[in-house]
Symmetry: C2
Amino acid sequence: MKPDVKHMKWWGWGEEGVFFNYLNKPAFAPFVKKALNIDLRPRKIDTIAFDPATVAESEVPGALLEALVAATDADQVTTDAHERVVHGHGSSVTELLHVSRGDYGRLPEVVVYPRTDAEVAAVLAAAVEQDAVVVPYGGGTNIARSLQLDPAERRPIVSLDTGLLAGLYELDEEAGLARVGGGMQGPALEEALNDRGWTLGHMPDSFTHSTVGGWAATRSSGMQSDKYGDIADIVRGMTVVRPSGTVSLKPVPSESTGPSLREMFIGSEGRLGVITELWVQVHRLPAERTVVAYMYPEWKTAVAAIRQISDEEIPTTFVRISDGNETGFSLATQKAATTVKKKVEAAGQKGLWALMRKRGWDTDQMCISYVCFEGSAEDVARRRKAVDKIAKTHGALVLGTGPGALYDQKKFDTPYLRDFLLEQDVMGDVSETAAPWSKLNGIHRAVYAAAEKAYQQLGRKGWVMCHLSHSYHVGACLYFTFAFKVGDNPDAEYALLKTSIQQAFVDNGGTLSHHHGVGMEHAPWMEQVVSAEGVAIMRSLFDATDPGRNLNPGKIIDPAISLFDALD
Amino acid sequence: MKPDVKHMKWWGWGEEGVFFNYLNKPAFAPFVKKALNIDLRPRKIDTIAFDPATVAESEVPGALLEALVAATDADQVTTDAHERVVHGHGSSVTELLHVSRGDYGRLPEVVVYPRTDAEVAAVLAAAVEQDAVVVPYGGGTNIARSLQLDPAERRPIVSLDTGLLAGLYELDEEAGLARVGGGMQGPALEEALNDRGWTLGHMPDSFTHSTVGGWAATRSSGMQSDKYGDIADIVRGMTVVRPSGTVSLKPVPSESTGPSLREMFIGSEGRLGVITELWVQVHRLPAERTVVAYMYPEWKTAVAAIRQISDEEIPTTFVRISDGNETGFSLATQKAATTVKKKVEAAGQKGLWALMRKRGWDTDQMCISYVCFEGSAEDVARRRKAVDKIAKTHGALVLGTGPGALYDQKKFDTPYLRDFLLEQDVMGDVSETAAPWSKLNGIHRAVYAAAEKAYQQLGRKGWVMCHLSHSYHVGACLYFTFAFKVGDNPDAEYALLKTSIQQAFVDNGGTLSHHHGVGMEHAPWMEQVVSAEGVAIMRSLFDATDPGRNLNPGKIIDPAISLFDALD
């Protein structure tokens, strides 16, 4: 029997039946032709039927299987082929490329769905006793290859699905704190909170399928972090089950209790145990919420404006700027105007473009920006006025709330594009960093140069675009998307792009990731970012607390698979 | 030769020649009579002459001394008796009680003042090589007994004074980041920043003598943390020198790089190495700064008002409420009116009291509150208006900026009172916690009950008072002060009070300390706060990264001295 836990498509992102459709977006095919020099074909694949015959029978040792059933129950343990494939990968583009082509890689021998902390403890004890590896699995959305399994691992691998550790257990309305199961997915949690007038406000791109425990385990940040905080700010207490015992951290606003255990578990990607329960800070639903769009003549001006919003401490829920390339991409994904209202809007947009050109703007350089305001009607009006003023000072046009509302509706759709592109033999992926304000323009330039050089090396046209999001007092996140038509060796070609961009980050004052985690994907840069001695401390911590290397080994440091090995 | 590094009095707090004077505060002696049932004597002790003959010659091994001189220079290494006494303790009331009476406890054999990271590395290497213990020393202000030395330690102890690792090395005005030496003290740093139009804004009570590295090592928080953040928010990057290598963490606004090394070093109290350099976020000096005072009829109403300020997300630099007892104490430390202006003010205050009594207020229950606003004149005016409105809704009287300005001037004076009281054979100390909003009133009640019970057990009248400060989305800090006339066994009597209060914290949803650190003082509660398994993880970390136990052992967990041992 299969527990009732929602999973994504085994072969791609999201729900079956949801796709990116370019046929109703007249500018998209010409845009791709120009960007990648390829002709798009209509999408053909609606789904990929799963064939269990493509998967070898599980070789799970009988003693381990018995021990896992004893730790939980017979209907919570499965060796079903489809379940093993689903749990055998995360959502990085390289994993999906291979999986969708029937190349599953190393699969777990068994999947277990514990219902309680005691069951998690029993599963971990059984795994250590039987010398098995345990990889916790939440929504499967991770793109840093934290879930990909080590092909060289000879011991049995147990995928521990947290899907039954879900629920809003407690809401402390006086403190603004909620106690939540680690396996609870974003939409279920928001719905339960919204029903009572509250919100978590944590909205990563993966929101529709990822879990609270997964957010904590990968040190996530959502697009509204300016107001609601990174997951490290949001998580105030937690329960972590380990083979040797359980750590329970009470929720407090702040504390001085030595090195922070909370901040060790956050980002630990299963290497320190399983995060089963979390105390998260929640906010009352705002009376008003508005997203305003602005158009800046160029990137540097837009960054300076956003810097000034931070400097003047104007509370925003999010700020975002797309650079010239990303703004062009956004415009190319606009739907065709089919109603009178849309046609009038489209005509208005043409007039706007004419105005910009008249002002001398280079429309390839212009940058669209979105700023979200929440609060009382009065707060929203005042903050909006202050940001409008800053934007105008920096030469921006205030586009108003129409495009903002559209952006807000579409915000979780982007990952579907990746699957569409894969079907077109195009690899599209993302790489993001964070850096001080003083380093952002340098990183932006360096990444474009690095990507361009890599595309030249591949001998084909490729694409790169960027947005700034997640604004802090000292800096912000830069989020790059790159895409290219794959050739004979997709892994090597991808590795060339990805390593070029990551290296440009760390060489120019950025970190290896702002909110995607380390996994195996970013592990090769850990020494450059935290020093060899910093990696040595982490190694000491993992070795000392997991002497048998049973807890998702080969992630964060000393990766089981390195991108550099894939380079030609 | 003694390096030119400023230290506090060897026998008490702060600078020689600065004292608490009660003779110009007419209400103080009657207040103490009522609170503690004792008659104050005029202060007699201006200073305590240091007699080197009271200190046994250092038994530092010759090889160690030579190695330390080789690691630095002859004028950076000293075995001088006064230097050893200064570096032999922090500023906890039990340490000062003993030291001021000539009972120095375990002293370091040698004090070393490295000037560079390379010298720190060489000192640490020498210490490990010679099997010595190294205790980093900043301003000596720590009151959690993080600096007190283990009397049972048979190996030589080296006090590593960070005083020469000082300076504002770099100011990145575009990012709002400063690179600072770990040994730089608060006033020097603020002055250097203020000169260029910037501020760190980190103002712990110890500010006048504590160091940036010490703030980080003890997970400090300053009174202005609502705006400027805790030290964990302020420190964005750092250099930590360890015997096996140096960790350099670049400054970034936020990052997803696995378990946070930054958050391991913050609060590590020397157990993971020496923090030599920090990247801290800095703010432009605000155009306006105002502190407004409010008087609430009672504690619970005042807490609800502050909760509402947080709920409405009105930016404040700090908020503070004193409970009835602390408000009474504040009024008792007002200076006598000696000028016409002061006399008019005093008359106004009497009128105010009459008004309150007419309104039916119990003047023993009323709570003074201070709220600080910073920003543009317009921001300050708007925020102040919003807080005034909330205060009035909760029945408060707005006292205005007069008392606020006075509070702001006197904010670093409190620690001097402790020395005055010690001379009167009164131990006065503090204990602070943080908890969710929903737990604050329960903790407040429980601490009063616990202190009362302890005083009954001692059979004498004692005092306790409290303020709320450091407001966060989910809760706040409660800061208690207690005082009693010591009897025959000050250590046991102190331990009874302190353990009773700390236990009331952790039994009622609070943590063991909001910003004072763990040291040996709070270590006995670590298992109750982070679980036995959490302590086991910390032990693994310390053991694995400091196998020879050379780095300030016996602090944070497994304390060398436990308060419970002092109980009768």
